[in-house]
Symmetry: C2
Subunit: 145 residues, 2 copies
DNA sequence: CTGCAACTTGAAGTTGACTTGAACTCAAGG
DNA sequence: CCTTGAGTTCAAGTCAACTTCAAGTTGCAG
């Protein structure tokens, strides 16, 4: 089997055909067509789909994912090095997100002691002790200093 | 200021009035009404909103959040102990999610070496080395053994 | 008492990420 | 050659989580 049908892709990736068509419309994956206008996928498109799934688990939008995938070469099959570069960048994002959640956990642990979760007093929500009028949500957790 | 108007709540929580009304419709927060049918919030409703915001950052749906908040007493102002119980449960959720992402990161780190991200071979995607026909996505990362 | 910002409701619109349906065509085994 | 499961398109539907709009009401400062 040289090229994969959309059904093959769906079976192997666990992503529905309709979603694969959607990804293609959105420019996240690509396919060639048979004489009869059916999609055929190169095997390496499975890696793109894999990457999309991983990124989505981390809570990244398709738009951002498209941006990341744009770093891959258009005209040739991506090499290991291409993927490695992408993965490294991705790893950093993941670690940032992990750090955010760890901070969240640590603050929440502190708040179990005080039982507060107060928007005014609790570091978790208003870490800089801003006035209520200034604070617009838990800035420190989203954008740490 | 005894009770808060919806505008006060919005200013202090960073959540738009329309969202607060929405939360109320969805049963996540509650308010009393003035003679003229305007909402008035008890101060402790701010904590509920705080909790909602935190939970959303972790990627939890309002439906699930409503479930969690349902553990708080209906008929009285929640005590520190009430909130502490909720926070403790929440902390566990958070830690689970952190663990998922750490696993994701570690696997991805491994995959930088091999540059694969292959749906068939890579542990990240198909950790049990299931046949392509059986695997429906990265089960091990979502539901670890 | 007046004026005006802040509030009310219900309905409809928005965005992201898809899914579903209708109507049709293709590919491949018997 | 014929059937049938798999594929095609385009339009419309769905779901969550809101926002926006229109049309009307309230609360408080002056």
């Amino acid at each position: 089997m040289e090229l994969l049908t959309i059904g093959d892709m769906a079976a192997r990736s666990g992503v529905a055909p309709s979603a694969l068509r959607y990804y293609e419309r959105e420019g996240l994956i690509r396919s060639t067509r048979t004489g009869g206008n059916q999609r055929r996928y190169e095997r390496h498109e499975l890696r793109r789909v894999a990457f999309i799934k991983i990124a989505q688990q981390v809570g990244v939008s398709l738009e951002e994912i498209r941006g990341a995938l744009a770093a891959l070469p258009e005209n040739r099959t991506p090499t290991k090095a291409d993927w490695a570069r992408l993965s490294a960048r991705w790893r950093r994002k993941l670690e940032d997100r992990i750090a955010v959640m760890q901070r969240l956990r640590d603050e929440l642990t502190g708040c179990i002691g005080c039982g507060c979760l107060s928007l005014q007093r609790c570091k978790l929500i208003n870490p800089q002790d801003q006035l209520a009028e200034r604070g617009e949500g838990p800035q420190m957790i989203i954008n740490p200093p």
